[in-house]
């Protein structure tokens, strides 16, 4: 048996500082919103000419007077991603860009993907993304409250907040792009992290019923240990699947799988080190559970 509970305080302190750092990062550095949430134009371009590189593309786009833009390599040697921030890029602009590009670097390229999101749509997408995440947290809170007791519900939701905020904090720190699929990833993290927490909580509840003489501090530790191999195996198989998406699933899924990988790691950690210490703090005992059973 591993004494996880010996480190409750230490890890709580670490988590707290990570959350604070993340919030500060979100506040001062902000998130790198992609075209989905900021509006603008994104072009994925494949060059069939070896002479085309980031520098030549940057020069060509620089001449077009498009405002802020950004050119970078995208996976393959000859694939590039161009992001243009100008918000009123109208429907025709893509065609003009294509023409001007042809005249400056020749015609040996093609647009593999074009995304053009107007400011109104991007604002709506951002709003619905935030609502979706808030709604999922609320739904989880409610569900656990029904299935368990409010103490459990609070512990689970704090663990979720922890995972979501630190994942976002890392995205801010490394300036990784936030787009629609990242929102999907965060919602899945919410589901996964909850999943992990619930399994341990389920065991805590079972043990609470069984042992009246064991303090919650010990009891959480027993429950964590009893479910530990499951926690590890499931995390490993999920991570195996995610790493496989990250490495082989193509450039478009990279951000999504990376967010999920972070989320699974934090989710597993928080199920042990956030969700359980909260139960200890809230002095959950057999009475808490029996009250529920008696009703």
């Amino acid at each position: 048996m591993i004494n996880f509970n010996k480190f409750y305080k230490l890890f709580n302190l670490i988590s707290l500082s990570l959350v604070i750092i993340s919030i500060l990062l979100l506040f001062f550095k902000g998130l790198n919103f992609g075209v989905d949430f900021k509006g603008g134009t994104l072009i994925e371009l494949r060059a069939n000419d070896k002479n085309i590189n980031v520098t030549t593309l940057r020069q060509s786009f620089g001449k077009m007077n498009l405002g802020d833009f950004n050119v970078k390599k995208f996976g393959n040697e000859n694939d590039f991603l161009i992001k243009i921030e100008k918000k009123d890029t109208s429907a025709i602009a893509i065609e003009i860009i294509k023409k001007e590009l042809t005249s400056s670097i020749g015609g040996s390229f093609n647009f593999r993907r074009v995304e053009n999101v107007g400011p109104k749509v991007s604002a709506e997408l951002l709003k619905s993304g935030v609502i979706a995440i808030a709604l999922s947290l609320a739904a989880m809170l409610f569900y656990i409250w029904i299935r368990f007791e409010w103490q459990f519900s609070l512990g689970a939701i704090l663990a979720l907040f922890h995972d979501v905020i630190i994942t976002l904090g890392l995205f801010s720190l490394f300036s990784l792009e936030i787009n629609l699929s990242i929102v999907a990833a965060i919602l899945t993290i919410v589901g996964y992290s909850m999943n992990d927490t619930v399994v341990i909580y389920d065991r805590v509840r079972e043990n609470l019923r069984k042992f009246s003489d064991i303090k919650i501090f010990e009891l959480t530790n027993i429950s964590i240990n009893e479910t530990l191999s499951r926690t590890i195996i499931t995390s490993v198989t999920t991570l195996l699947a995610l790493v496989s998406i990250y490495l082989f699933g193509g450039e478009i899924l990279k951000g999504f799988s990376l967010a999920m990988i972070m989320g699974v790691v934090f989710g597993t950690y928080s199920s042990i080190y956030i969700a359980n210490p909260i139960l200890v703090k809230l002095r959950v005992s057999q009475k808490t559970i029996l009250k529920e059973d008696g009703e």
Binding site: V199, D202, S244
Partner: protein
């Protein structure tokens, strides 16, 4: 209990075989398979264009206000009410009447039978909200009046957009309403939406109007530019003919001038008007105005009574074809703006499919090896379950004709990773029970029973996330939530029916064995 009747074994096997068949039908020639259903590939996988159009209703609202102003003017004149200062101001109609006529006028607007201000029974409200300050009447479109305008212009626009897209002839376009002022157009397989975009970007409001020399035309005049932007002309506001009178329009080569033109045929009313206009206006220039710009302004040579005519104007064959198409499909009630566009080329779509399939296979193999290494025989059972689960998942997506997107593939891979969770929970529980209980069969049974609440709770939380994602997400992300949600159900089914049966059969056979798991 872990004993299974022959019937049950047969049923589970049958269901499994059924889904394996359905899932595999995706890879067969549609001609030779019994099931015609297929998983649809999303635009991000098969390539194509997604366009979100927003209807700019402002001109329609303004038009409505103008029309109503005319009606009010005529009405007040007819009633001999001495009105003053009737005008449109900040999207409202404003006018004043003498104090003693106040009540009379007010009643005309608030009457349920009012012709000026129609009453919508379904909303229990009038088209216009009325407010009166002293003797000043202010009419503004009510919430429901605006909704009426929006829905009717959306209906019309949808029809016109559909006609235009159909005329271009892309395969299986999907054109649907979004909200009350948007239209979503999905064009599978189209990697360059330029032509459609320019076709949808035009209102195609066609009018024939005389060019005049003097400003004192009774209907008023305006200066309009030619399409080339080089010159302009003074044009009467009187509309001789508009696009609604057109029956047909086709691009054509004019044999004499060797020019590409658009020839048109008018309906009966149109032909009559055109005949009259050309007979009275010989020698005059008739401007053909499209969306506020003059296409050309030919001089009338003689009477055209047949109702056939030609529009010339420096067309290429392509632009003549497009103009003819626009004229045939009719004018949009209001301008459309493309507010969101996502286009994926077919080669990127294929690359995404390939990458997705490779990631799925590698992820699957990694998980399978890990499970086998960890649980041996039971790992094998979990792996068989996982495979069957995949068939169930793909089979159900096929049966529903669901749309598979790139995030959807990610959802399948993620399901592979998370699906073993239920089996792991059960196996771990059985392991624990085996320590206390000598009888293998009882230990297995309790293992299944005691792990149940955790499994259900754990899966419901993921399901909640998936459902929220489904309602809040758009496009590809929706595809992810669908596979995730369906994956939860197939996982539970495969774990409780397939895996449970397999473990049951194995345990019953080896019930005397020690350290079974």
């Amino acid at each position: 209990m872990l004993y299974f009747s022959k019937l049950r074994i047969a049923l589970v096997s049958l269901v499994t075989i059924f889904f394996i068949y359905i899932a595999s039908s995706n890879f067969q020639d549609p001609e030779n398979s019994l099931i015609s259903k297929r998983i649809n590939l999303g635009l991000d996988l098969q390539g194509g264009s997604y366009l979100l159009l927003e209807i700019d209703n402002e001109p329609v609202e303004l038009q409505k206000l103008q029309n109503t102003t005319t009606v009010i003017r005529n009405f007040l004149k007819a009633k001999k009410i001495n009105f003053n200062d009737l005008r449109i101001q900040n999207k409202t109609i404003v006018f004043t009447v003498p104090k003693n006529d106040n009540v009379l006028v007010e009643n005309f607007f608030l009457d349920k039978e009012s012709e000026i201000n129609p009453y919508y029974n379904q909303y229990k409200s009038h088209q216009f909200d009325l407010s009166i300050k002293d003797s000043e009447f202010i009419l503004s479109l009510s919430k429901y009046g605006l909704i009426e305008i929006k829905t009717s212009s959306q209906d019309q626009a949808l029809e016109i957009v559909r006609r235009r897209v159909d005329e271009v002839g892309t395969n299986e376009p999907n054109i649907i309403k979004r909200g009350n002022n948007r239209i979503l157009v999905e064009l599978p397989g189209l990697d360059d939406p330029m032509r459609i975009k320019s076709l949808l970007g035009k209102t195609a409001n066609l009018t024939f109007r005389f060019v005049t020399q003097n400003n004192n035309d009774t209907f008023g005049t305006e200066i309009l530019q030619f399409e080339d932007g080089m010159s302009e002309a003074l044009v009467s506001k009187r509309i001789v003919l508009n696009g609604e009178n057109l029956l047909d329009a086709q691009p054509q080569m004019n044999n004499q001038t060797n020019e590409t033109v658009v020839s048109f045929t008018l309906d009966r009313v149109g032909a009559k008007r055109f005949g009259k206009a050309t007979s009275t206006g010989v020698g005059k220039q008739l401007a053909i105005v499209l969306d506020g710009k003059i296409v050309s302004a030919p001089t009338i040579q003689g009477v055209i009574a047949s109702g056939n005519g030609q529009i010339s104007g420096n067309f290429t064959f392509q632009s003549a074809t497009d103009l003819a198409l626009l004229l045939r499909s009719g004018a949009l009630p209001a301008p459309l703006n493309i507010i969101e566009e996502r286009t994926v080329g077919p080669d990127l779509g294929q690359d995404s499919i390939n990458a997705g399939v490779i990631a799925l296979m590698i992820g699957f193999l990694l998980v399978i090896f890990f499970m086998f290494f960890k649980y041996k025989i039971f790992g094998l059972i979990a792996n068989i379950t996982l495979l069957v689960n995949l068939f169930f998942l793909v089979g159900i997506l096929t049966l529903f004709g669901a749309t598979l997107t790139l995030p959807g593939i990610a959802g399948i891979i993620l399901t592979v990773g998370m699906a073993v969770d239920a089996n792991v929970l059960i196996f771990e529980r059985i392991k624990e029970e085996c320590k206390k209980e000598k009888n293998n069969i009882i230990a297995f049974d309790t293992g299944y029973v005691k792990s149940k609440t955790a499994i259900i709770d754990a899966n419901i939380t993921t399901l909640i996330a998936a459902i929220i994602l489904f309602f809040m997400g758009s496009g590809p992300v929706k595809g992810f939530s669908v596979t995730l949600a369906v994956g939860i159900f197939t996982t539970l089914f495969s774990v409780y029916f397939v895996a449970r049966m397999l473990t049951g059969l194995y345990v019953v056979k080896n019930k005397e064995k020690e350290k079974l798991i």
